[in-house]
Amino acid sequence: MRKGMNWLLIGVSLLLTLCWAGPVLAEVTLEVLSPRGEIVAPPTLSPSPRVVDLTGKKIGIYWNGKQGGNNFWDVVEELLKEKLPTSRILRFRGPFDLGERLAGTLAKECDLFIYGVGD
């Protein structure tokens, strides 16, 4: 009985000593919450199918009004006319955000179009 008690005391003492020494040797773990907001992804749309042959097509160029963009598009228009003499180049300009009405006009009047950000 006495022998058993001795061994019990030795065991408990060792355990407690390890508990004290333990934190000195163990790692620290920080658990933090994510600050990121959840995004509800909008429905995704694919670009329109490509127009493989541009012969005779109506190509729209949209300028969002950013300064100097008109000079760039003027040159692009000239180059497109050189490369695609049968195609028609239609020029548009408006706000950054096309909006429903302008988007509808472009869809109706052009076979394809390029939007220039200018930034």
Binding site: L30, V40, S46, L54
Partner: protein, 472 residues
């Protein structure tokens, strides 16, 4: 077509709009901006890009392009960081968050569960309550997420209702957050607190009111900054394209109006709130050129309220240039009407009040003194104003150029002999605020009319506070 340095921003915007596989053709930024001044100069850039353009238009879509999948944003509720000691764990946490673009460059407070719970004790509102979505990537702002960012900023729980109200203003559907957050113009935010809560949480409204040293001012502003970074998924040179960066970018201009030394009613009361209410006003302002102008005050050069008023009017009169500069379909910032924040130092406000001015009569005085008699307008100016009126009615122009429908009759009425055409859309676009201490400076901070939403200025009631008497 975009410049290469805006490529990341453009792709990000395409994803936000639901078209992640939109075809883009890039031109070198280093060449485009300096050469766009004329057709001859820009020709080599256009020549380089034309084949890429035709290819983008004609090459059939790949399977991936034709079947885009939405970009999944991995959301983990909690992140575990382990290190040999607490200090090393905090260092590792800071580095990890910065590497992920979840911080602001300054050390953060770890948002542990315990710490966030402590922060949420500052409001009686539910942590799951949705405040809105934050541009540009439209992450959802809940009370809990705002609290997490507030912990990171080093704020105290009693500041949380103020931070929430600021975020309510910024996520209001009428507020143009997209422009201030992402524009290359390096625009800034003014975050002003009114009402008794300002004193309770010890905000600075006196000397140094736009600077450092006050935990409430600085951490409220920082919590808003971190919320924009993390809920809007905003990052410099990726989609936050402020080319120079902003002064006070970490904390914005966060302060309380100096109601104690003001001769007039507090700003929020002039908007119809009660004096015992507490409110936050968020407003987009300029940072650099045309952004902030000092008119007088201080402790060195002499000044009078009258001389300050005259200088302000003279400066505002220069906005007359917008008349002749408006061209339909051309995005010219110099042609956009402006909004003015007139920050009067207390001594100046007191002097103006002695001269008989109220806040309202001062707005009216600015508006009328800067209006230009019809007879003084040039033909080009008259044409520009007429075009702007017609375009505002027809639509299809950038919002920053639009005269609101309610003001069109006013402009039509004055655009004839005997009339006076205003350079400011309405007297309400001139905001009179008393800020700073004694001595102080009077200055204006202005901003163009917002381009993506109706307004760049919102005032919201602070509510749900549990740790202060005000804001409940």
């Amino acid at each position: 077509m975009v410049t290469d340095n805006f490529g990341h921003d453009a792709r990000s915007a395409a994803e936000d709009s639901g078209m992640p596989t939109l075809r883009m053709v890039k031109v070198p930024a280093q060449e485009f901006y300096k050469r766009r001044i004329s057709k001859e100069e820009i020709k080599p850039v256009a020549l380089e890009s034309i084949n890429g353009l035709i290819d983008a238009l004609t090459r059939p879509l790949t399977t991936q392009e034709a079947n885009p999948k939405p970009k999944k944003v991995e959301m983990s509720k909690a992140i575990r960081i382990t290190a040999e000691s607490y200090e090393l764990a905090v260092e590792k946490f800071n580095q990890s968050f910065l590497d992920n673009h979840w911080g602001d460059g300054l050390p953060l407070i770890p948002p542990t569960q315990k710490r966030v719970k402590w922060m949420l004790a500052g409001t009686g509102r539910s942590p799951h309550e949705v405040i809105g979505t934050v541009a540009p990537k439209n992450g959802t702002a809940t009370i809990e997420k705002i609290a997490i960012n507030a912990v990171m900023a080093g704020a105290k729980p009693e500041y949380l209702p103020v931070i929430i109200a600021a975020m309510e203003g910024l996520t209001d559907k009428n507020f143009d957050l997209l422009h201030v957050a992402t524009s290359s113009g390096s625009f800034n935010l003014l975050i002003m607190v009114n009402g008794p809560i300002a004193k309770e949480i010890k905000m600075n409204s006196g000397i140094g009111f736009l600077g450092h040293g006050w935990r409430a001012n600085n951490t409220i502003g920082r919590a808003v900054r971190l919320s924009l970074v993390n809920l809007g998924y905003l990052w410099p040179a990726e989609n936050d394209m402020a080319l120079i960066g902003r002064p006070s970018s970490h904390t914005f201009y966060t302060f309380a109006e100096n109601e104690e030394n003001s001769p007039w009613e507090p700003y929020h009361v002039s908007f119809g709130y009660k004096k015992e209410n507490s409110c936050v006003t968020v407003s987009t302002v300029g940072s650099y050129e045309g952004g902030m102008t000092i008119y007088g005050g201080g402790a060195v050069a002499p000044w009078t309220a009258k001389s300050i008023l005259e200088k302000m009017i003279k400066d505002m009169k220069n906005d007359r240039r917008i008349f002749g500069l408006f061209k339909r379909g051309v995005a010219n910032p110099a042609a956009h009407p402006r909004k003015y924040i007139m920050m009067l130092h207390p001594e100046c406000a007191i002097e103006l009040q002695r001269l008989g001015y109220t806040r309202e009569s001062l707005q009216k005085h600015f508006y009328e003194s800067t209006s230009v008699p019809y007879e003084d307008l040039s033909q080009e100016e008259i044409k520009g104003i007429q075009e702007r009126i017609e375009a505002s009615i027809a639509g299809g122009i950038i919002l920053a150029d639009v005269i609101p429908q309610s003001r069109i009759p006013v402009f039509k009425e004055v655009l004839k002999p005997g009339g006076k055409v205003p350079v400011v859309i309405s007297p309400e676009e001139i905001h009179i605020i008393v800020g700073g201490g004694i001595p102080g400076y009077t200055f204006s901070i202005s901003y163009i009319k917002a381009p993506y939403a109706p307004t760049s200025h919102q005032t919201k009631l602070i509510r749900g506070a549990t740790l202060t008497k005000a804001g409940r």
